[in-house]
């Protein structure tokens, strides 16, 4: 009992930190800031998976935590960093469609929306609910980031954050899914990031920019 109580508190705190790391990706002004925010967020996701693994003793959750750590906290940030380093001036200030204050206020509203949408779901404990709130909130904020940022790499990071949020929500609700599904999802994710990385590099080669607003010839 005590064991699960501590675990519940731990998951609760980790979920809060997870949401804070999402906000960090919203306010990051430089390209690498977004990537570090994503790596931190992935670490927190790993920690939640690991906590659940210890509590339930399910071996596939240990594996899941390991995979999340290596793929999301190490490999993908490394890949993004390499893409940025090869192609884009990494310390440059990023351009937004919407300013920072507007983005922060919107993100705050989205967290409330996520809370309203999830708080009346049946059959969930307090800790699972906290994780679900953080997860759904992160999905919404990630998608918002994709809209509000003009540049390609932060848009990809927005998508990746949303995917982390999805995995957090999945841990809260359907943690006992077959591992093979999770591996397939991770493979798709890695392939997607690789493809987007190559496209970004070619954007730089073609247009000397990663500003997607410069690539808007196709209309109507």
């Amino acid at each position: 009992m005590f064991h699960s109580l501590v675990a519940g508190r731990l998951v609760d705190s980790l979920a809060t930190l997870f949401l804070i790391s999402t906000f960090a990706s919203v306010v990051a002004r430089q390209m690498m800031g977004c990537v570090y925010a994503y790596a931190t967020q992935s670490l927190l996701l790993t920690a939640v998976a690991l906590t659940l693994a210890v509590v339930t003793g399910a071996p596939h959750l240990y594996l899941l935590a390991g995979l999340a750590f290596f793929v999301k906290a190490l490999f993908i940030p490394w890949l993004l960093k390499r893409t940025i380093h090869d192609s884009v001036h990494e310390k440059r200030e990023l351009s937004f469609y919407f300013g920072m204050p507007a983005s922060l206020i919107t993100s705050g509203i989205l967290v409330v929306v996520a809370w309203a949408a999830t708080s009346n779901l049946p059959n969930l404990g307090a800790a699972a609910l906290a994780a679900l709130n953080a997860g759904v909130g992160t999905i919404l904020i990630g998608l918002w980031t994709m809209i509000s940022r003009r540049e390609a790499v932060p848009q990809v990071v927005g998508l990746l954050c949303a995917e982390n949020g999805l995995m957090m929500a999945a841990l809260a609700t359907v943690a006992d899914l077959p591992l093979i599904t999770e591996i397939g999802i991770l493979l798709d994710l890695v392939a997607g990031v690789l493809i987007m990385g190559i496209l970004v590099r070619h954007m730089v080669a073609v247009g000397r920019t990663t500003d997607t607003a410069k690539f808007q010839r196709l209309r109507g």
Binding site: E163, L166, T181, G192, L199
Partner: protein
């Protein structure tokens, strides 16, 4: 059989991966396409077991077989055309060989992911396969290395990934609502009546919006005209003829779960809304189109709208019409995109105003373009006429007069747009004298085959196909 059809594309891709000379890659690709079509035909013929097959995580029922067959047909036509198109293309823009290797590798992987998507009852695997169709085809969209194709590929990957994310959330919510750790569609559908309605509603909305993004439902369609028009024409044929139908297949599966848990009202209303909105938007853009490949892409959005409306009606007659509409649109659209590739190779432009007199420059392609275009508008004696007519009559028979009238009006509007541009392109004489004649046999043969397959379902729905359609409608669940 299931294992063979799943492994065949992989084998072909591996052959192309070792960078053999071009004829070997062409041979492997054609062998793959032929194999898929032959096995799919065998499975269509396999009515002794009610079309049910299962092997490991692969499984098929009547609905899978229906979609597998159309994926097989479209893959076969487009693979034949690919060979000729790439040869013609290489002559024009001193082609770089490494890009051709990549093309054939990804082409075969792409066909494999589509086969996998329709051959599984596991919703997780279904999601993985559909996301993989995007990833395999992203570089194919970008094949002609230009800023426009890069933009199209970027939008394609990014926006459909957002859609996939929502679809995955919807999938997880269904599993959560079922309260059992399974992704098996049959189990989930059986558990649907016991699911909390609020959770299931949210899950269905997410799955519909998510997979609807991939299917090109408005307003999530914005990537589709770009990707489908910028890709090389045989790839466009696969994207518009086969790939978006795998998303329709996923929507059909989720509709069944929602139907079992919530009753017909909720899913039908949503599908009707998305369907009519997509139709209206596509009809408008068809009227003002300047580029003939974009025109075909908007026509795909129009047909996805018709299919969504048919699905929302959900009676036995409407479902039969919808399944035929899926098949007819797939074949007609693939044929037209392949023809547009021939026109593109000849005229070197995709602007409607710069193309005139296709019928004089390329009599066969011109005739197919005209006939196939008329088929797409829904005129007799072609397949889409009969299936669209079936959907109309189902709407009126179910006393959904407003939906039926809206459907007829919007399709007529789209028809006006399509005919206007077809007329301008096909007749008259080219602006500048062009060497008369087709590009080569490879780009000509699939047009004839495709047109034949568009014509047949306009004249007769064979009994065996009717039986398969009825069984597939049974799998989907009737309103």
């Amino acid at each position: 059989m299931l294992l063979a059809i799943a492994l065949l594309p992989l084998a072909a891709a591996l052959v192309c991966l070792v960078r053999p000379p071009r004829p070997v890659m062409e041979g492997a690709t054609l062998a793959n396409a032929t194999g898929i079509l032959v096995i799919a035909s065998l499975m269509v013929a396999g009515r002794w077991a009610g079309w049910n097959l299962s092997y490991g995580f692969l499984s098929a029922d009547a609905l899978s077989v229906w979609f597998l067959f159309l994926v097989g047909v479209v893959t076969f036509l487009a693979s034949l055309h690919s060979v000729g198109y790439l040869r013609g293309d290489a002559r024009h823009e001193n082609g770089r060989p490494q890009r051709y290797h990549l093309y054939y590798v990804l082409w075969n992987v792409f066909t494999g992911t589509m086969v996998l998507a329709v051959l599984t009852r596991n919703l997780g695997l279904l999601w993985i396969a559909i996301e993989a169709t995007t990833l395999a085809s992203a570089f194919l969209v970008w094949f002609h290395d230009r800023p426009e194709t890069l933009e199209a590929a970027w939008k394609y990957v990014l926006l459909t990934s957002v859609g996939s994310l929502l679809a995955l959330l919807g999938t997880f919510l269904v599993v959560f609502a079922a309260g059992a750790p399974t992704l098996d569609w049959t189990v989930l559908r059986a558990a649907a009546p016991r699911m909390a309605p609020g959770v299931l509603q949210l899950a269905f909305v997410l799955a519909l919006v998510g997979y609807g993004t991939k299917a090109g439902y408005a307003p999530m369609h914005t990537w589709l005209p770009d990707a489908h028009s910028q890709a090389p024409s045989p790839v466009s044929a696969l994207l518009s003829g086969a790939e978006i139908n795998t998303a329709v297949y996923a929507i059909m599966r989720f509709r069944s779960i929602a139907l079992a848990g919530l009753g017909p009202a909720f899913p039908s209303r949503l599908l009707l809304g998305f369907g009519l909105f997509s139709l209206a938007l596509a009809a408008f853009f068809l009227l003002v189109q300047k580029d003939y490949k974009r025109m075909l892409a908007y026509s795909s959005i129009e047909h996805m709208g018709i299919i969504a409306v048919g699905l929302s009606l959900g009676g036995p007659l409407a479902l039969a019409g919808t399944l035929w509409q899926v098949f007819n649109h797939a074949v007609a659209k693939a044929t037209l995109f392949l023809t547009s590739g021939n026109i593109l190779l000849k005229y070197r432009t995709s602007r409607i105003t710069e193309v005139r007199g296709v019928l004089t420059a390329m009599p066969f392609s011109g005739a197919v373009f005209l006939a196939g275009g008329l088929a797409l508008t829904g005129l007799p004696p072609f397949g889409p006429f009969l299936s669209e007519f079936t959907i109309f009559s189902a709407a009126f028979r179910q006393h959904l007069v407003a939906a039926g009238v809206a459907l007829v009006l919007l399709i007529t509007l789209a028809l006006a747009g399509l005919i206007k541009w077809l007329n301008r392109m096909v007749f008259g004489y080219p602006w500048e004298p062009l060497p008369a004649g087709e590009n080569n046999w490879w780009t000509t043969l699939p047009l004839g085959l495709g047109l034949f397959l568009v014509l047949v379902p306009g004249l007769v729905w064979p009994g065996w196909a009717q039986a398969l359609a009825a069984a597939a409608a049974g799998v989907m669940g009737v309103n």
